[in-house]
C-alpha cells in the first residue's frame, strides 16, 4: 500500500498519462499491431491535427471562453494552401508553413475582436464564425478538389517523415508547441493572467489585468494553430475539398476537456490537452480494431466525455471538502 501510494500521481497530467498507458496496453492486447512501431506512428499521425488544435484552444478554455471555429479554419486553410500551391508550382513546404498560420490568424483576429473587443459571448461568436468560414470555403472552392499531384512534393515528403521509427515530423512539432505553450502558461505573466481571467473575470478587471489584450491574443494564437493544423491536414491526407475536417470542432473541445482543461475556466494545461487528444484517438483506434461500428464509436466518445466531466466535478468537490475540513481543523 505504501508502495502504491508513493506511485500515486501528484498531478492531473500524471493520472491522465497513466490512464493513457493503460488504454494503450489494453488496446495492444486486443490488437497487437497497435503496440508495434507502425501502430504507434499511426496513432501520432492521426492525433497530430486534433492535438495541435487542442493546444491552441486550451488557453481559451482556461479563460472561460471557447473557439468553435477551429475546424472550419482548418478546412479554409487546407483548401487555400492547396489552391495556392496548384497555382504556384514553385511553392515548397516553407511557404505553406508561413501562409497557413497567417490565414488562421485572420479568423483569430475576427474572433478576438468580437469576443474581447465587444465582449460578446464566445460560444455564439465562434458558432457564427464556424458557419461563416465554412460558408466561405464552399463559395471560394466552387466545388474544386485538390489531390496529391497539385501539392508540393517537399510538403508531402515532410508529412511522411518519421524519426526513430515512431515519431512523425508533425507530432514532433505538436510536442514542441505543447512544451512551449505549457512553459508560457506557467512561467509568463501573460499565461498566468489567462488562469486569473478564467478563474474570476470580474476580479481580473479589478486587479488591472489587461483582459482585452490577453483574450484577443489567445484567439489569434488559436487561429494560428488552426492554420498550422490545416497544413498538417494536407500533409496527412494529401487531398482536400470544401468539406475538409467538417464538424470536428467538438472533438477538439472533447480532447481538451478529457485532458483536464476545465470548461468552467481557471485550470488545465496544454500537456493535459495533448494527452486527452491521444487518449481519444487510442480508444477510437482500439474500437476500430475490434470492429465496433461507427455509431458505437461515436457513442463511446460521448460517454468518455461525460465520464471526464464527472471525474472533474468529483475531484473538484473532493478537494473542496478537503480544503473545508482543513479549515475546520485549523479553527479548532
Amino acid at each position: 500500500m505504501n508502495f502504491l501510494s508513493r506511485l500515486k500521481p501528484r498531478s492531473r497530467e500524471g493520472s491522465l498519462g497513466i490512464i493513457l498507458v493503460i488504454t494503450v496496453g489494453v488496446t495492444g492486447l486486443i490488437n497487437p499491431r497497435f503496440l508495434t512501431g507502425d501502430g504507434t506512428r499511426d496513432l501520432f499521425t492521426s492525433t497530430a491535427v486534433v492535438a495541435l488544435l487542442a493546444i491552441g484552444m486550451a488557453p481559451i478554455i482556461i479563460m472561460r471562453h471557447i473557439d468553435l471555429s477551429v475546424a472550419s479554419t482548418v478546412g479554409l486553410t487546407a483548401w487555400f494552401i492547396a489552391d495556392l500551391c496548384a497555382k504556384h508550382p514553385d511553392f515548397t513546404w516553407v511557404q505553406c508553413f508561413i501562409i497557413g498560420p497567417m490565414i488562421g490568424m485572420v479568423v483569430g483576429i475576427l474572433n478576438g475582436l468580437l469576443v474581447a473587443g465587444l465582449r460578446l459571448p464566445s460560444l455564439v461568436v465562434t458558432l457564427g464564425t464556424l458557419y461563416i468560414v465554412r460558408g466561405a470555403v464552399y463559395v471560394i472552392s466552387n466545388s474544386v478538389d485538390y489531390n496529391a499531384q497539385e501539392m508540393p512534393p517537399s510538403l508531402l515528403d515532410l508529412g511522411q517523415k518519421v524519426f526513430f521509427g515512431i515519431m512523425p515530423f508533425t507530432f514532433l512539432l505538436v510536442i514542441f508547441a505543447m512544451l512551449v505553450t505549457a512553459w508560457f502558461m506557467k512561467y509568463r505573466k501573460a499565461g498566468r493572467d489567462c488562469y486569473a481571467i478564467g478563474s474570476n473575470p470580474h476580479a481580473a478587471d479589478l486587479v488591472g489585468i489587461k483582459v482585452f489584450r490577453r483574450t484577443f491574443l489567445a484567439y489569434v494564437f488559436s487561429g494560428a494553430m488552426a492554420g498550422l493544423a490545416g497544413v498538417f491536414y494536407l500533409m496527412r491526407f494529401a487531398q482536400v475539398d470544401s468539406t475538409a475536417f467538417y464538424g470536428q470542432e467538438l472533438a477538439v473541445v472533447a480532447a481538451a476537456v478529457i485532458g483536464g482543461v476545465t470548461i468552467a475556466g481557471g485550470s488545465g494545461t496544454t500537456i493535459g490537452a495533448t494527452i486527452g487528444a491521444l487518449l481519444v484517438q487510442t480508444i477510437q483506434g482500439g474500437l476500430a480494431a475490434i470492429g465496433v461500428d461507427a455509431f458505437w464509436k461515436s457513442a463511446i466518445n460521448g460517454f468518455l466525455l461525460i465520464v471526464a466531466i464527472y471525474a472533474d466535478r468529483t475531484l473538484a468537490r473532493k478537494s473542496e471538502s478537503a480544503l473545508l475540513a482543513q479549515r475546520i481543523k485549523e479553527r479548532a
Binding site: 512553459w183 512561467y187 478563474s199 481580473a204 489585468i209 481557471g266 478537494s319 479549515r327
Partner: protein, 501 residues
Amino acid sequence: MAQKGDLLLQMKGVQKRFGGAIALRGTDLSIRAGEIHALLGENGAGKSTMLKILAGVHVNDGGTITLGGNAFTTGSPEAAIAQGIAVIYQEPSLFLDLTLAENVFIGRQPMKGAAIDWNKAQEEAARLFSELGVPLDPKRQARGLSIADQQVVEIAKALSMNANIILMDEPTAALSASEVERLMTVMKSLKAANKAVIFVSHRLDEVFAISDYITVMRDGATVSENSVSATDLQKVIKEMVGRELTELFPKTENKIGEIALEVSDLTNPAFFRNISFTVRRGEIVALAGLVGSGRSEVARAIFGIDKYTTGSVKVNGKVMAMGSPVEAMNQKIALVPEDRRQQGLFMIAGVDRNISMESFDRLKGKLFLNFKKERALTEIWREKLSIKYAAPTNPVESLSGGNQQKTVLAKWLATDPEILIVDEPTRGIDVGTKAEVHKLINAAAGEGKAVLMISSELPEVLGMADRIIVMREGHKVAELSRKEATQEKVIAAATTGSKGA
C-alpha cells in the same frame, strides 16, 4: 516615504452621475499618512461610488482629486494600483483556482530571467502572511479559504504592491469577533507603518474603537469630517440619517403564547450536536455565537435544506419530516437566509417577481399568474416596509443593500408564516434601515409569529431577543433570559463556553 500626518489624498467637490441618477453631488475627503479613517453613511450615501473612483473603476465627473500633491489619474484599476492605492472589496476578489502566493503577486510576479520565480513568490508571500500574524500556506489554493483569511491575502497583496492608501469596504461585515480583533491588529500595524487606511463600516462600535478620523456622508455629499475625539456616537448617527433615531431596538412587549417550534437533540456531527430549544408564539429567540459555531446550519436543518442524523423538529407539537423545505413551508415556516445575494433573491428579476415568488399559489388564476394581483401584493409590501425602488419591475440588483434585505423579508412575510427564521437580518445595512428591520421583526412577533433570529451583533441580540441561546463550536452552551443576559455573559459563553461571567 511619507511621514506621519502628511496629506496623502485630498478630494474636493467630487461629483459623479450615472445616467440621470446623481451618486455624488460634491464630496470632500482628506487622508493623512498614518491614520485610520472611517467612512460612514447610510446605504446609497455614495461611499461605494467614492471608493470605486479611487480604485479606478469609475471616473469622476467633477471636482478635484490630488494624491501626494499630484493630480490623481483616474480611469483604470491599473493606474490606481500604480499610484499606490489598494482596494479590498466587501466580497474579496481572489482567484480561487490559483495559489495564495499567486493571488498576492498576480500581474507582479517576481521574475528570474524570462520566467516567473515561483520559489521567490512563495517565500515572499509566506513572509507577508507571517508579518500579518496569519501563517497561511502560500502554496495552498484560494478555494475554501474563510472570508477572514481571504482578506488577509488581499491585505498581503496591498502590502506587496507597496500601497500607501488601503481602502477597505466593510471589512468586518462577515467576520467573527476574534477575526475582527485580528483585522484590527493588522490595521494598527499598517497605521504604524505610516500607511493610510480608509474603511467603510456599519458597525459603529468598531469605528469608534479604531479610527482616528470619521467622515460622514449623506445623499452623495460629505456632512462632516471630525477626529474621533471631536464627535460621538449619537452625533454620528444623527449626521448619517439626518434625523434623530429615537430607538435602534424598539422592543415591544408581546403576548407570549404556545410553543410553536420545538427542536430536540438535533445533531449533524459535522456542524452541531444535541441542540434543543423551543420558540413560542410572539417570542423572539436569538441564536448567538461566533460565525462558524453552527447557528446557520441549525436553521438550515430546521428548514429542511440540510439533513440531520438524530433528533427532531416539532411544529405545533407535531414532528416534521426531515430534509424538505417544501414541507417546512407547508408548516408555515419561513427562512430569510444570511446571504441575500446568493440565497435570498433572484438578482436580475424584478422586485415584484421576487416578492411574489413564494406566493404564486395565491396569485394564480386558473392557469396563469395574475399580474394585477402580483402588482397589488408588491404595492402592499412596498408600503408596509417602505421599500424604495423606481419601478416594481426593476431588477433587485439595482436596489441598495437595505432595500434588497427588505425585499427578501417581504417575500417571506408575504407567505404569512407562523415561524419566522431570520439569519443575520441586518448585515451590511445602515442604521436607519436597521431600525426599520428591527421594527418589522418586532411587529411580526407582535402578530403572534414565533421568531428565531441569528445574529452576530451583540447589541442586536440583547436589544431584540426575549431569550438568547448561545452556541459554541456546534454545542448549545447557554440559554439566557432577557433579564439575565448581558454583553459579558454572551461573549463569555460564545468564546469560552462558560456560563457565568
